[in-house]
């Protein structure tokens, strides 16, 4: 991103990621590093069986930086992206164990059911919340996308999305759409207390894996801290309610109780 403005607010993805912007993704070492790091983390969160090559879907594969990470680990992947310029960069860089195709995630995923052993997506999901054309209905597009994603994933596999939500409502909209389509899972937020290092990952499970699922632990957090924070928020909420003269149920063991 050249400016501080969010790219989603500037133009539709197929326009924003033009030749110039796409070139940046191939040459800027900072961008490459951040993208690769996030792809690596997404792959880690996928938690695939050790030592096996899997067939993975990369949604919003762009110039193939995330694909490089997948290849490094011996996986075969299929990437889908809406920006032709980005895909051209990817083709030029030469993908080894990957296939790329031009497509719009809001239009669904043209694959056969149960094809993939997992899906990752780096910095793409927030685009789904946009209405870039008058005919776009973001909610319908989200639902369509998650429905088809659920279909193309093998049961018991996962999908991990790193994305930049612009507001909490966006997160709840996306998770709700995903849950409606049969996914379970939730958000993993790495380094939640840092503005710069904070990264959001939506981790989705397509069906229950054997032995149930457990949401992976976020980096840069430890359990007691979050629970303290939660308590504090609760307490603050109670104090506000009291100020507003609301009839609040007294907290157990408090004086009123």
């Amino acid at each position: 991103m050249a400016s501080n403005k969010r790219p989603e607010l500037q133009a539709p993805p197929e326009i924003f990621y033009n030749d110039v912007e796409a070139r940046k993704y191939a040459t800027s070492s900072r961008m490459i590093e951040i993208q690769s790091q996030m792809s690596f983390r997404a792959l880690e969160l996928l938690n695939l069986p050790e030592g096996e090559s899997a067939y993975l879907l990369d949604i919003g594969c762009g110039s193939g930086l995330s694909g490089d990470v997948l290849e490094e680990r011996g996986h075969v992947w299929v990437g889908i992206d809406i920006s032709e310029a980005m895909l051209m960069v990817s083709a030029e860089r030469g993908v080894q164990n990957g296939d790329i195709m031009l497509g719009d995630m809001g239009q669904g995923l043209p694959f056969r059911p149960g094809t993939f052993d997992g899906a990752i997506s780096v910095s793409a999901l927030q685009w789904l919340c946009n209405q870039d054309k008058t005919s776009h209905n973001p909610i319908r597009r989200m639902r369509h996308f998650f429905q088809q994603l659920y279909n193309v994933l093998r049961r018991g596999t996962k999908a991990v999305f790193q994305f930049y939500p612009s507001c909490p409502q966006q997160v709840s909209l996306l998770t709700e759409a995903a849950m409606r389509c049969g996914f379970s899972g939730g958000m993993v937020i790495d380094y939640p207390n840092s503005t710069k290092a904070k990264k959001c990952y939506l981790v989705l499970f397509a069906g229950t894996p054997p032995g149930g699922f457990q949401l992976p632990k976020a980096m840069g957090t430890d359990e007691p801290q979050t629970s303290v924070k939660y308590e504090r928020i609760k307490a603050r909420g109670r104090a506000r309610d009291r100020r507003n003269g609301k009839n609040v149920k007294a907290a157990p063991k408090s004086r009123e109780w």
Binding site: Y55, V76, L102
Partner: protein, 112 residues
Amino acid sequence: MLQSNVKGVTQGFPLGLEVTETEVTEHEFNPEFIQKMIPKLDWHALVTTAKVLEITLPEEIPDEQDEEFLRNLKVALLDVEVKEGTLICPESGRRFPIINGIPNMLLTEDEV
């Protein structure tokens, strides 16, 4: 690559294939991975598509999956890449062009 040809669009499978240019790149042979791909494939669709690419695969999946069979399958799945061509939806006849090895699966608004 053939993978995306084999997987169909939401309605209509398998996609037909017309080829104008192909490229062959050698890939590493990983028998476990190829074996894992077999249950995911629609075999008849693959055999039909492979014929277009002048690769001969047995009509049925053999019971004995020896190395030669797996190697042959690897060529069909990974090595042969369609550079220029068209994918055709068997139901609607909709054509998806393949340019520079990238199939264009974008739909227009009234097709969504």
